[in-house]
């Protein structure tokens, strides 16, 4: 009720206030007749002022950060409060009355939600749940403790005569004040602790407490407020019970609202594939709706939006596109930072308004001492209890930081402003005290906490890059612990976490995630992916243009031989994505073993040329196309990669290649062989290959498969030109060289003779030099591992774009040229420079396999029907290739 009523109070920031400066005066004297120029300040006043305030705050931020020294010593929040004081002083001096202040309505409805959403959404959930017990204890017990002890002690102070008698307040008033002053403030805590970098556990406990205690604060405040309004005489015993009950209603209700909206949000983003552009908006809208709904039902809105952010993140992140993810992240951060800035500045400004507050030294000093003392005492007591149950006890230093980090902030201020002066006669004193407390905690404690943390040698958070090993072993440990808990028969934390994960995997994720999105959320995969991108980038940074043929080695695969036959078969069955450079190699394969090796080789080097993002030119406002610069960067990147790759290949095969065929030929060639592609559908596997022109292309993503109407133009950016090469089984037997296949710009590989096939297989030759690898540091990469990193990077890059399972094959072919007509707005694809991606079907290798296997493939083939709408089918085969080869071009119709 309380906060619902706030909406009535919610006036746009300072909107109601008169503009104190001269601007309104220039409103213009009415001109006769047609006005050439009209000054309409009043029409834009409110939004204009809001924008101006934000602008001023932002500019101030810039100024603060001009000096690194200042910001490293003084937290930004302090600077902003001080700035607010100065600005408020100026306004006061100019207008002779305080104009602006932090309106509770504005604060709760507009300024607080972005901050809470930001913190909930980016909350490290694992850490949060690992410490949930402690967080809840501090949030619930701690806040109750602080409120009651502070309130009671202040009342005692008054009874002792240390508070001036003009402060007319009874025990209930003091409890009310205690309830609003006791809560640790998320905004203040975040602002200070983000700069302090204490260790994660400490941070999550203090910060989690500040978020979750909102429910307690709201309930206490509401209950005390209504008790005060009822008058202490009229309070019945049932009212106390109701007060306790409302604690549960408000907190659990708030959390439930948040989770419901999180569910809705996750579910909605599952279906946004065609309207990527509104994905970020959905996130904000639904989270805000959660906040408002909870507010409306007078539940804990902070809790609601925290749970919403916390709950939806995993699914939303998996569902929305990469760009949307970035957008969400930055928008959220921007909004939160903006809101935070404005809050602190307005806090400073509000303090200037002396008409609102009345000073009483006894009350102020008493409050300051009590909140510090009882906070510390509460922390010590609770920690003592908690440590009986904690695996890693919180030591004394942690307790000091937790006590000292109990900052009060704008929530307390907004709540105290909301008090009804008629019911709470001491309101003005409370306001003054709150302002002092807030200023003291934010400025004094904020200033000193950093030196304190340093001095106490609090464990700092250490940022180390995650490694695959760590990630994998961490998962192992989790499973081990869950298993051990099972064996011991203790259903503890690990047991329930494991349970939850299974439930999530089985039901929730199925329901809330796109099918293509599962993999992204796998953490091991995620780490792998990020490592690869990093490696790829540093690879290029290090001058991918330097062709050091000596330095390149294939990744060593020592245990290749122990590779189970079955897994190879599995591999072949997978219609994963990959790219293959040397189409010829497979021809030479004779024995089944060799063939598998060769296929394996192709699969493994598969990632090499899978471009990650494709784009299409579009004038639509609903789709953002990359600008030229970005494109160019990518081109450079890929060119480098390619050159690297070529040199690698030549080294590998000890063959000097000459690019014998001029490129124009390839187009001609493609046009020749139209036929057999359709006839020879083994299980097609798309191996994207990228042309020199480095247009970014991709294979179809799995998502395409989900919907059959693939011809529609509004696809997400997953389309690409796909170029499928197929061979009939005879090809394998004949072992003919289809030399003309170097449609790809990479040097043609002279097909190794069957006898030396083994030698040519890269891993065989690579056996000798087992190199050393992937550096775990971003900045440096050992040359030897470049190839590795490169391979892996590209495969991971591409596979994101094209999920591995159920790769949609493209059975149809489009000629490269006619497309000019189709896509007049695709400047990236000059007709003379076609950019097909080459795909390589594993069917090549599979052709010779047993019938049982191929029959097993049949169902898969059905799955792999063409998904994209193909306007025309033209099959082209490379010129010198025998007719069994055919290369399919598949241009995404949407290109």
């Amino acid at each position: 009720m309380l906060r619902a009523a706030l909406s009535l109070l919610a006036l746009p920031l300072a909107g109601a206030a008169e503009q104190p400066t001269q601007k309104p005066e220039s409103l213009g004297e009415p001109l006769p007749g047609l006005e050439l120029f009209r000054w309409q300040w009043h029409e834009v006043e409110a939004p204009y002022l809001v924008a101006l305030w934000i602008l001023v705050a932002s500019l101030a931020k810039i100024v603060f950060h001009l000096s690194r020294k200042v910001t490293s010593l003084v937290p930004e929040s302090c600077l902003l409060i001080l700035l607010g004081l100065v600005l408020g002083g100026i306004v006061l001096a100019v207008a002779k009355k305080a104009e602006y202040q932090l309106e509770p309505g504005t604060f709760f409805l507009f300024l607080l939600p972005p901050i809470v959403l930001d913190s909930g959404y980016f909350m490290p959930s694992r850490l949060f749940f690992d410490n949930l017990g402690a967080i809840l204890t501090y949030a619930v017990v701690g806040t109750l403790w602080n409120a009651f002890t502070t309130g009671a002690a202040l009342w005692g102070l008054q009874q002792a005569g240390l508070v001036a008698p003009r402060v007319q307040a009874g025990l209930l008033d003091f409890l009310l004040f205690g309830s609003l002053i006791s809560a640790v403030d998320p905004v203040a805590v975040l602002a200070v602790f983000e700069e302090v970098h204490v260790n994660e556990t400490l941070f999550i406990i203090v910060f989690g407490e500040s978020l979750l205690n909102d429910a307690v604060t709201v309930v206490l405040y509401k209950v005390c407020n209504s008790f005060v309004e009822m008058g202490s005489a009229n309070v019945q015993a049932t009212d106390y019970l109701k007060g306790v009950a409302s604690l549960f209603v408000v907190s659990l209700g708030g959390a439930a609202v948040g989770l419901v909206f999180a569910f809705l949000l996750a579910l909605t983003t599952r279906f946004t594939k065609r309207v990527r552009i509104i994905e970020p908006l959905l996130v904000f809208l639904l989270a805000y709706a959660a906040y408002l709904t909870a507010e409306m039902a007078s539940l804990s809105a902070i809790l609601a939006v925290t749970m919403c952010g916390l709950g939806c993140k995993k699914y939303v992140e998996a569902n929305i596109s990469h760009k949307s993810r970035t957008t969400v992240k930055y928008t959220m951060k921007t909004l939160a930072s903006c809101a935070e800035t404005v809050i602190f500045m307005l806090l400073g400004i509000s303090a200037v308004d002396s008409s609102k507050w009345a000073w009483d030294s006894g009350l102020v000093l008493g409050t300051l001492i009590f909140i510090l003392f009882f906070r510390a005492l509460g922390v010590v007591l609770q920690t003592w209890v908690l440590n009986q149950f904690r695996l890693v006890p919180l030591d004394k230093i942690d307790q000091v930081v937790m006590s000292y980090g109990g900052l009060r902030g704008a929530v307390a201020f907004a709540l105290v402003i909301l008090l009804d002066r008629t019911k709470v006669p001491a309101k003005d004193y409370f306001v003054a005290t709150t302002i002092v407390v807030v200023f003291f905690t934010v400025i004094v404690q904020g200033l000193t906490i950093k030196p304190l943390v340093k001095w106490l040698k609090v464990k700092r958070s250490e940022h180390h890059k995650p490694t695959l090993n760590q990630e994998l072993h961490e998962h192992t440990f989790d499973h081990i612990l869950a298993a051990v808990e099972d064996v011991v028969g203790h259903h503890g934390y690990h047991y329930w976490r494991d349970r939850w994960e299974q439930f999530d995997k089985k039901y929730l994720s199925q329901l809330l995630m796109r099918r293509s999105a599962y993999r992204i959320r796998d953490q091991i995969w995620d780490v792998y992916y990020r490592l690869n991108i990093r490696d790829a980038i540093s690879f290029v940074d290090q001058g991918g243009h330097v062709l050091s043929s000596t330095g390149l080695t294939l990744p060593s695969m020592p245990s290749r031989n122990s590779m189970a036959e079955t897994s190879v078969t599995n591999l072949l069955r997978e219609s994963g994505s990959g790219a293959c450079l040397d189409l010829q190699v497979i021809d030479t394969v004779r024995s089944g073993r060799d063939r598998e090796d060769a296929v394996m080789h192709h699969l493994l080097c598969g990632g090499l040329y899978k471009p990650r993002r494709r784009y299409k030119a579009s004038c639509s406002r609903h789709f953002i196309s990359e600008d030229a610069q970005e494109r160019q960067d990518k081109e450079v990147f890929q060119q480098n990669m390619k050159r690297r790759l070529e040199s690698f290949k030549s080294t590998k095969h000890n063959i000097c290649f000459t690019k014998s065929k001029p490129r124009p030929r390839k187009t001609g060639r493609r046009k020749d062989g139209v036929a057999n592609a359709e006839a020879t559908n083994g299980k097609p596997r798309d191996l994207g290959f990228q042309d020199t022109a480095a247009v970014i292309l991709t294979v179809e993503s799995e998502e395409e498969e989900e919907d059959s109407d693939s011809s529609e133009t509004e696809k997400e950016d997953d389309e690409g030109i796909i170029f499928v090469a197929r061979a009939t089984s005879e090809v394998l037997q004949e072992g003919k060289v289809s030399g003309s296949l170097e449609v790809c710009p990479s040097p043609r590989i002279i097909p190794p003779s069957p006898t030396c096939a083994e030698k040519e297989l890269p891993w065989k030759s690579g056996q000798g030099d087992l190199a050393v690898y992937v550096s775990s540091e971003t900045t440096k990469i050992v040359p030897v591992d470049m190839q590795t990193g490169w391979n892996q990077s590209m495969s991971s890059l591409e596979s994101l774009a094209s999920p591995p399972c159920n790769q949609a094959p493209t059975l149809t072919c489009l000629p490269p040229h006619p497309r000019g007509a189709e896509e007049p707005q695709a400047p990236l694809y000059p007709p003379s420079d076609p950019h097909p991606s080459f795909a390589f079907p594993p069917s090549l290798a599979k052709a010779g396999r047993s019938h049982s296997e191929s029959s097993a493939d049949l169902p898969q083939q059905q799955e792999l029907q063409p998904l994209m709408g193909h306007k025309d089918h033209t099959h082209l085969s490379p010129g010198t290739a025998n007719s069994h080869w055919c290369i399919q071009f598949n241009r995404g119709s949407r290109l």
Binding site: V392, V487, V488, G489, G492, M557, G576, Q792, P804
Partner: protein
């Protein structure tokens, strides 16, 4: 913790077990209780079947391997001391200053032993090295089905290479330990109730 009704005396060799594992009396009682509950036929030892009956273990990707770890050297049964010895790896590391148990040279719950326990879950053939193949098998268990075999292999390669320092294409225990240098293994491989 443990029920007072049962007495430590019911556990044979209780003192030597305590000395070896460092468990408190209460924990041992609790574990003994559990041991007998798992032992369906009151045969005095546990077989693989007994452990496989634990429902949640069946869905644990590493469940089989963990069950296997209770039966070293291919034995078919595990008695109570053996049972407790395995679980002792997960006893939290206690601070030296809290003078509870005097530290023995190499208690079962030392960082090294905890790591070794995890290591031998990977190292199926017990050659002291996690080969690429073994890594791949673990990854296959751990990573969701949505990742293709091909990518799994890439991950396995990468994982091995990342940890592999001497270039033998496999991860030795030393390398395994090193790759986890920065991780708080003592914390991550401990269960609070096993004091």
């Amino acid at each position: 913790m443990g029920s007072r009704s049962s007495h430590a005396a019911v556990i044979p060799d209780v003192d030597s077990i305590r000395r070896e594992t460092g468990f408190s009396q209460a924990s041992l009682l609790r574990l003994h209780h559990r041991f007998r509950a798992l032992d369906r036929n009151k045969k005095g030892y546990l077989s693989r079947m007994d452990l496989q009956q634990i429902g949640a273990l069946a869905v644990n990707p590493l469940g089989d391997r963990i069950i296997e770890s209770f039966f070293p050297n291919g034995s078919q049964r595990v008695d109570f001391p053996g049972f407790v010895r395995v679980l002792a790896h997960f006893r939290p590391v206690e601070d030296e200053d809290t003078d509870q148990d005097p530290k023995k040279p190499e208690p079962l719950n030392s960082r090294r032993n905890k790591l070794h326990y995890a290591f031998q879950l990977y190292d199926l053939d017990r050659d002291g090295k996690i080969s690429r193949h073994e890594m791949l098998q673990v990854l296959r268990l751990m990573v969701g089905v949505q990742v293709t075999e091909e990518q799994l292999e890439n991950i396995a390669d990468r994982t091995v290479q990342e940890a592999d320092e001497d270039g033998d294409g496999a991860v030795s225990f030393l390398e395994f330990t090193k790759s986890l240098e920065k991780m708080d293994v003592e914390q991550k491989m401990s269960i609070r109730i096993l004091k």
